[in-house]
Symmetry: C2
Subunit: 322 residues, 2 copies
């Protein structure tokens, strides 16, 4: 899907994350917010991100991309000629409903109206729109230039073609779309994150393992595989007959562990106290910002120089022996 | 903990995985199995691994390390002078009990008796040993030269000093030990893996997402953080007041998602069928071996050239603008 102009409505954390993605793809992007000062801040942040991306070789000409970003004083000015509208107002059903109805009413006839949500049911927020067929939910991860995943959720009335075109556009923006066909609480990625974090809290609360050691269980084994293979691919490569063989061998264990997990248990006060104390021993609060910059650099490095994209190849027998 | 000689008892998949770790640390390692042919195969596999490690700059002199590996025809010959015994016989309570009692009876007075288990309760398998104070469980991940994590589980009678010395030895071997203080079904890493895989199966079975898209939810967001940060560190960096602030903001959502997870549900036939079909479309069974070699190369690459250890640093403002 090739478009020339997009509109971002709402320029808070989520809205401003979208801006550099459109601009680096060569798409003119108009940014509108009920607070004009927020638009200025958002555009400045997007420009800084584009310069970071250029420094890592991920954008050719940041200045040219920055020129494509325009503030829009009025909603009508933002929507004029926009082929894709990315709504990014606060995550409240009433707010979303009101804004989406307004956007759907004012947008160009062929435009797609996309809502940035991380938890709401598309059926609920699109209830009041006149043209549900062009409305869709896209859930980015923050910040999106470091986190390629976008969860795409059609509502009950969304055209299949809008799902296809939105997914194609997300790819043009450099993102990786996945389609969520049925609303579930937390969507998918946050459910998987909750599965891990809830069990982690439960294990610490039960005195099974220390918080620092729990983190090592991820980084020193599971996480280094999950950086480039999902859980199904991991299982598929771990048995002779692929995932069918893996299931024959381990399915019962997985079901039994599943039944024993503490995921639905509340985050105990004691567990939380232990995790907080452990983390503050590792990094004091005033060191967190530096640590965040470290994290973002490593994520950028993984995009600029992906694992497996460095020309490595199997060694020949001769090389092995030399 | 500096030792000169170790014994590996049992040379199947797990036993043979331990051999190169001891040898590359400069420790003489004697390998015994009731099947002498298995010992020969294991030593050849260990030698190949050491040459691979050398090719990636992770072992200086593979040949010197290989010289430290000796087959032992008798159990007594393996145990003589061994300061650390790594039992790696099949994972059955009766087998483990019998072999561990025998090893404990014949080992040097000061030796540590370590059992490779992935699921058994240390209290059960050490029930019959005369000296429970020196007995401990160590759970490696396969293959251990690519997966640094080792779960260390003391039994009810294990000396704290043995926990400390075993953990120190694991570090000398180049591994990353974590201590599991209380037996839980699946230990820790496999519980976290089950939390993810069980929920993944449940989501596919419920028609929420396709298997290929589910894998992308991990590799394109969660997994790339988990390659270098555990779930607690991830949460800690994601809120202004660290994990305390994160909890104040998201705890309720995590508990609610936890209560909604499908982790205890059986792996539905339909879900499994979908996952198998999706994987076979991506890689036919006959392509799996090549894919495994790809996986192992990427894991090796992550060890040889870890993320964040490539001299990257924050860009200066000037560089950002240049």
């Amino acid at each position: 899907m090739r478009i020339n102009r997009a509109a971002i409505i709402g320029s808070g954390t989520i809205g401003r994350g979208w801006i550099p993605l459109f601009a680096r793809a060569g798409i003119e992007v108009r940014v509108h917010d009920i607070d004009p000062a927020s638009v200025e801040t958002a555009i400045a942040a997007a420009a800084a991100t584009l310069r970071d991306l250029q420094a890592f070789g991920l954008v050719e000409d940041a200045d040219r991309a920055i020129e494509l970003i325009r503030p829009a004083a009025s909603l009508a000015g933002a929507l004029e000629g926009a082929e894709f509208i990315q709504e990014s107002v606060p995550e409240k059903v009433a707010t979303k409903r009101a804004v989406l109805a307004q956007l759907d009413g004012a947008a160009e006839a062929e435009a797609i109206v996309s809502s940035s949500c991380s938890s709401l049911d598309p059926a609920e927020i699109f209830e009041g729109v006149a043209n549900p067929r062009r409305c869709i939910v896209t859930h980015p991860f923050n910040p999106p230039h470091l986190m390629p995943l976008v969860e795409v959720l059609p509502g009950p009335g969304t055209d299949e073609e809008v799902v296809t075109r939105t997914s194609a556009l997300m790819k043009e923006l450099g993102q990786v779309p996945v389609v969520i066909r049925k609303f579930v609480f937390g969507y998918v990625a946050n459910r998987l994150q909750a599965a891990v974090l809830d069990e982690a809290m439960s294990l610490v609360g039960d005195g099974v393992i220390s918080p620092a050691d729990l983190d090592l269980c991820i980084t020193q084994a599971l996480g280094r595989r999950w950086a480039f293979m999902g859980p199904f691919e991991t299982a598929d490569l771990n048995a002779d007959e692929g995932v069918a063989g893996y299931s024959a061998r381990y399915r019962e264990s997985y079901e039994a562990i599943g039944a024993d997990l503490g995921v639905a248990r509340p985050w105990g006060e004691d567990a939380l106290r232990q995790v907080i104390a452990a983390r503050r021993r590792i990094v004091p609060l005033e060191g967190l910002q530096e640590k965040r910059e470290w994290r973002d650099l490593l994520l950028m490095e993984m995009i600029a120089n992906p694992i497996g994209d460095r020309g490595i190849r199997p060694l020949t027998q001769k090389e092995k022996r030399s």
